[in-house]
Subunit: 174 residues, 3 copies
């Protein structure tokens, strides 16, 4: 079996590629999960002891059950009924055996209710959306017998202060 | 040849990875296609019987020729001359043999012509962009002798109603 | 060793997949690099003779040292302290042996300081962000003994003129 310069077998290399796509899908599914408020899905993708840290302005749910509850509470569903959309950019992903780290950007958009109406040829008319928040996200994943799970997610808003930048630096390692 | 727990050969696993990248590229190319109004390209990536469903506010072109015509008509080119930009997030992709499903987010941005001018250090001055629409997209792909093609695409706007969420739930399956 | 219709070995196919992910990560890391102003990182991912062309309104740094300096100068750091966020969409990537091309979309967002305050349930209150620029980016990469490096990057703003569209057409090749 052919090995690369690191001595890994082709099978090990293919498995790491599959791991990477599984992690891409976990990140890609998180916005549909947030925008539907699906607690059962959330519970299925976090580890039992996961930690979701959104910064000092928000609760810091710990453990799969608390995180799932926070993602599907009535207040969150009010945001969903207003048309909130979470929007994920291309993530940086680094895998190291049975653990992995990702750094990603996230936008939160909400329908605008005060601005002027724009009428765009072939694309309808409307007030459009307001970009409410942009955040830097650090994800830590772990391989389990049931596939890759989220062990921690830390997000910090872009507001000119250092915490978002501290997260971003995790994407600049070799 | 090494097989994984599902009994697939390494070659089958590598082919599925290549399939996945081909589908990523189809989604990534769709925004350049929309923003240049390239009907010939559109015709080349849809199946003969494809269906593009943008919801009740828009025409519902059926078949490769109609879809290509809709993507390159004069009204669409007026939007292009105004500077419209389609912007795609990270998609969720699931492959099952010769078919595949993706769920993706899409923003449509248009240059703002009424807001205040912002002058950002090292990044120029201008009125910036208005996020005109955000939509949830469900793509169905099929493998053909000429590569993967789009069989259907259904998009629904984020506006607080259920149809966008119905699409998003397709990304929460295992 | 199984070969596909192009006659490539499985090892060659796996290497191309790894190449692709390395390029995805280079694109994904570029926004954290820009938003932290990290010149040392920038120098590490460009070729010695790289060219970064942002269009007629900006300097056109040539060579790794100039590009790194441009990405970390005091003016750029003022934008960072204001909370600037670069946001990358899903890129189109095409690999051809030891060279590769990518076409990607980029948004530049800045915190809004003049608009109304929005209070979104479960997502805090604030003035949100302004999408300052949207650009089309063409990247050319080359494989080196130290991994894939950026040889050139050309970006043009969406403003209704032809240069952005000229870049986008690079994503519509087979």
């Amino acid at each position: 079996m052919t090995a690369d310069s690191s001595g890994r077998s082709l099978e090990e290399r293919v498995r790491e590629i599959e791991d990477r796509f599984e992690i891409y899908n976990l990140i890609a599914s998180h916005t549909p999960s947030a925008d539907t408020g699906n607690g059962a899905y959330v519970a299925s993708v976090w580890t039992e002891d996961g930690v979701f840290d959104r910064g000092a302005d928000f609760l810091r749910p710990t453990g799969r059950a608390e995180i799932a509850a926070g993602s599907s509470n009535p207040e969150h569903h009010r945001a969903i009924e207003q048309g909130i959309a979470h929007f994920a950019g291309l993530p940086y992903v680094r895998i190291d055996g049975d653990t992995a780290v990702a750094v990603s950007y996230l936008q939160i958009l909400v329908p605008d209710c005060v601005g002027p109406v724009f009428d765009v040829p072939n694309h309808g008319a409307g007030r459009g959306f307001h970009v409410h928040r942009v955040s830097a996200n650090r994800w830590e994943f772990v391989r389990t017998p049931d596939g890759w799970k989220i062990k921690s997610r830390t997000l910090r808003p872009f507001d000119g202060t250092a915490p978002a930048r501290d997260i971003l630096r995790g994407a600049l390692e070799p």
